[in-house]
């Protein structure tokens, strides 16, 4: 009979906390948005599902062996553990607090200790360690993205790189916003947190995850969710801003057909970019290095086997585990607090500012070019969010003038935005990392 009781006492429904319930609903919501509304499904389906898994009571899928051991606290193990951590009390929160702040070797011995009692890391926790904590997954995905990126339009019109630069203002403005909210006492962000939140404005998933994993892992879940959700919302967020900042005449400007770009230029560009990064900003070398590597695999034309694998099997495999790993950060205790709300608000502000600055920069360039060369609508594509943002520019262009196809012109700033936010990421890692 007691066995029946055990089952009931160990069941999810009996142990379901309100936080977990909410987070499961959030996970279902993400799945709904991904599947029905096509919100970046490649990432949000795994993230949403991982979020649900992470909040199954008693399963402890998102927790380390030590966290799980503390959850099911057997007295004598707790006292051994507090000994290892050099504590007097066995109070769960004290134990976890000490564990989180302990140095690497204490960390290791704590893990070894609880493993002897048969506790082990949750599945998602292991995925997170291998995929994200190691830094591997975002870099490998960035390699695949590089292998999928065509720099042709950028090479045909290099000055569109300035649009990619201007749009990054959203990132830094948001950093300022985050520290502002903190000094107003509304939030409590460190400068690292602020930097990680700002990168949402980069509109670049892997970059955001990479920076967050380095600067403030505890915010990674919220940051990744915000980044991908807002990218999906680009078609709603950008148009009003773009209309507000441009005149009909400007929106009607048609741009000259882009020149043909030679194969050798395509091959040399990733190498030039790599050397520039290496010489100016070593901290951005992992991110942009892998990006350039992927692009070289694509363009060099002699390793199509590798290029195809990088943009298919490999990136798909890594995406599955990256998504589930991000989901592991959606466990109630880590996700549910006011900071998440602050992050969501700041994230959308970042997007809006980035969009606005891109458009304004485009207007400026247009003026400098005599007022009829550059359609300001392509400026908004500088936030990256490839190719969504470029398609938005194209759509508004067609609205203003049915013969006005801007997409290829917008692809330039679009990929420039990827480089821009990777550079911004490097600067932040260097200054506050």
């Amino acid at each position: 009979m007691d066995k029946l009781l055990n089952i009931w006492l160990a069941s999810g429904i009996y142990n379901l906390g309100v936080g977990q319930l909410i987070m499961i609903v959030v996970g279902l919501l993400l799945l709904y948005l991904a599947i029905n509304k096509k919100f970046e499904p490649l990432l949000l389906v795994p993230i949403g599902f991982g979020g649900i898994l992470a909040n199954i009571p008693e399963a402890g899928l998102a927790f380390s062996a030590v966290e799980n051991a503390v959850h099911f606290q057997s007295p004598e193990l707790m006292s051994k553990l507090s000994a290892v951590l050099g504590l007097s009390s066995n109070e769960p929160h004290t134990l976890l607090e000490a564990y989180y702040n302990s140095n690497a070797s204490t960390h290791a011995s704590a893990s070894l200790l609880v493993q002897d009692s048969g506790y082990s890391n949750g599945m998602l926790y292991n995925f997170y360690s291998v995929a994200i904590a190691s830094g591997a997954a975002p870099l490998i995905i960035f390699m695949g993205v590089g292998a999928m990126t065509d720099f042709g339009p950028l090479l045909a019109n290099p000055k569109t790189l300035f649009l990619g630069a201007a749009a990054q203002f959203g990132i830094f403005a948001t950093v300022l916003g985050a520290v502002g909210l903190t000094s107003l006492g509304l939030m409590d962000f460190s400068i690292q947190d602020a930097a990680a939140i700002g990168i949402i404005g980069g509109a670049d998933g892997p970059t955001a995850i990479y920076v967050a994993s380095l600067l403030s892992p505890h915010l990674l879940g919220a940051i990744a969710v915000a980044a991908y959700s807002y990218m999906a919302l680009v078609p709603l967020i950008q148009p009003p801003i773009m209309r507000a900042l441009t005149t009909k005449a400007e929106r009607q400007i048609t741009m000259v057909q882009l020149r043909q770009v030679s194969k050798i230029e395509r091959i040399l560009f990733p190498i030039v970019l790599l050397l520039l990064v290496g010489m100016l900003l070593p901290d951005a070398a992992p991110l942009l290095g892998m990006f350039c590597f992927g692009n070289l695999l694509r363009e060099c034309g002699v390793v199509d086997r590798l290029s195809d694998t990088a943009q298919n099997a490999l990136i798909n495999i890594v995406t599955i585990f990256l998504g589930l790993s991000v989901g592991s950060k959606l466990s109630a205790d880590k996700f549910l607090d006011s900071t998440t709300f602050g992050i969501l608000v700041l994230g959308i502000v970042a997007f809006c500012i980035g969009t606005a600055m891109g458009v304004l920069m485009a207007k400026l360039l247009n003026k400098m070019e005599g007022g009829n060369a550059i359609n300001p609508l392509i400026g908004s594509a500088g936030v990256s969010a490839v190719p969504m943002a470029a398609r938005v520019s194209n759509k508004l262009g067609l609205e203003a003038n049915p013969q006005n196809f801007l997409l290829m012109h917008a692809m330039g700033p679009n990929v420039a935005g990827v480089i821009g936010s990777a550079v911004a990421a490097g600067v932040m890692i260097k200054f506050v990392g």
Partner: protein, 84 residues
């Protein structure tokens, strides 16, 4: 020894019991779900139509650029696969 037998017995009783309870609940919830779906959901889609799915191939990303919205859709869809 006896305790081992008794452990085995209770494992069998509670195990089979639980399996049946679980699957019974699954039957109920599945039936409920299907009823609700068929009642309020959209008209059923023949699975055969699902074959039409195109898996965007990266080859598309290598297409030469033309200001042709059809083509453009393909190009960008492919790039989109992983651009954030």
């Amino acid at each position: 020894m006896d305790s081992l037998i008794s452990q085995g017995l209770s494992l069998m009783i509670y195990g089979m019991g639980f399996v049946f309870v679980f699957l019974t609940l699954l039957v109920l919830m599945t039936t409920l779900m299907s009823t609700l779906v068929t009642k309020y959901g959209p008209a059923p889609v023949a699975p055969s139509t699902r074959k039409k799915r195109v898996i965007n191939s990266p080859i598309a990303t290598q297409a030469s650029y033309k200001s042709d919205d059809e083509l453009v859709a393909v190009i960008t869809a492919a790039v989109h696969q992983y651009r954030s």
